[in-house]
């Protein structure tokens, strides 16, 4: 007889967090497996820097471990809470960057340097990341949460602590700006001009 691959996958995030709050170490392992990839992906999109994104992911998870014993069940989704923490941590880091090193913000690469037909998907993804970094911070948050993390607008509103209409506006403006940036690089990215 074979056991299910992971019977604990059916346990909700919240139940795992409460279990960890009661001292269950295995619950922390399950939460780490579930949450860290998501948190790291979002922080990477926001910061455009792998090492900084890892630091943010670790800090966000540490805050989750600390809040576990006081977690109020039914008030917020664990994922929403984490997205909000990551959003705030990224905002802090981006502000510090602005003050410390104005040249530290990654610039979109010079188009002439990489002009060639048939670029790989990875390079298009890099171009998307560069374009995301060029967006104003709030538009970037909204676009990443909506179109990459696949969240619904009310949940994004919760994470960003703004109204749903503001989310819609930020998402629409952000997407238009992204399309404009990428449109200027279509040829470079190997898209057909015809």
């Amino acid at each position: 007889m074979t056991m299910p691959f992971d019977a604990r996958t059916e346990i909700s995030d919240e139940a795992l967090l409460v279990a960890f709050g009661n001292g269950d170490r295995r619950a922390a392992q399950d939460l780490t497996r579930r949450m860290v990839p998501m948190v790291l992906r979002y922080a990477s999109r926001m910061l455009g820097d792998g090492a900084e994104a890892e630091d943010v992911a670790q800090e966000a998870m540490l805050r989750l471990w600390r809040i576990a014993p006081e977690w109020r069940q039914g008030e917020a989704k664990v994922t929403t809470w984490l997205y909000r923490v990551v959003t705030n941590l990224c905002t802090d880091r981006l502000r510090r960057r602005r003050w410390v090193d104005l040249d530290g913000i990654p610039e979109p690469p010079d188009g002439a340097a990489s002009v060639q037909a048939g670029l790989e998907e990875a390079e298009r993804q890099t171009a998307l990341n560069d374009a995301l970094q060029a967006l104003p911070e709030r538009q970037r948050q909204a676009v990443v949460l909506r179109h990459i993390e696949g969240m619904a607008n009310p949940e994004i509103a919760n994470v960003m602590e703004i109204g749903v209409e503001a989310v819609e506006s930020l998402t629409a403006r952000g997407k238009r700006a992204l399309a404009a940036i990428l449109s200027a690089r279509r040829e470079e990215l190997g898209y057909d001009e015809n």
Partner: protein, 128 residues
């Protein structure tokens, strides 16, 4: 199809593939996260393992601190302790100078009656 439409469609496709992609967390990161979880668990168990008597102790510490505050703190307590010890030492050691004074007045076989201790009014009556 206009260039803008194409760009938007391409952007949609890019965003969709971005949703599937993303950096995989390194083993080192996962280990760091779990080490934090262990540290938090250890902190919590250390807090809950504190002896039951520790709370009353801290409460009596508060009582002691209030008392100390009332008499002027530790320097005042040091002064009180010095005075107490000096008193005890004088009581037991009976320095010679005190013995001389007390001996002149109280020593000997002389017994005193109540009348000896009363003032003498004879001179007043005689003058009357």
């Amino acid at each position: 199809m206009t260039r803008i439409d194409r760009s938007e469609q391409e952007l949609e496709e890019l965003l969709q593939s971005a949703a599937k992609a993303g950096p995989d967390p390194s083993d080192a990161l996962l280990a760091r996260v779990m080490a934090d979880a262990d540290a938090v668990l250890a902190e919590r168990s250390a807090e809950s393992a504190m002896p039951v008597g520790s709370v009353p102790t801290s409460a009596s510490g508060g009582w002691l601190n209030r008392l100390l505050g009332g008499v002027g703190g530790w320097p005042a307590v040091a002064g009180l302790a010095t005075a107490t010890i000096a008193g005890v030492w004088i009581g037991y050691a009976q320095p010679a100078s005190l013995g001389g004074v007390a001996g002149g007045l109280l020593a000997g076989e002389t017994a005193y009656d109540l009348g000896d201790l009363l003032p003498d009014y004879d001179s007043v009556l005689a003058g009357g």
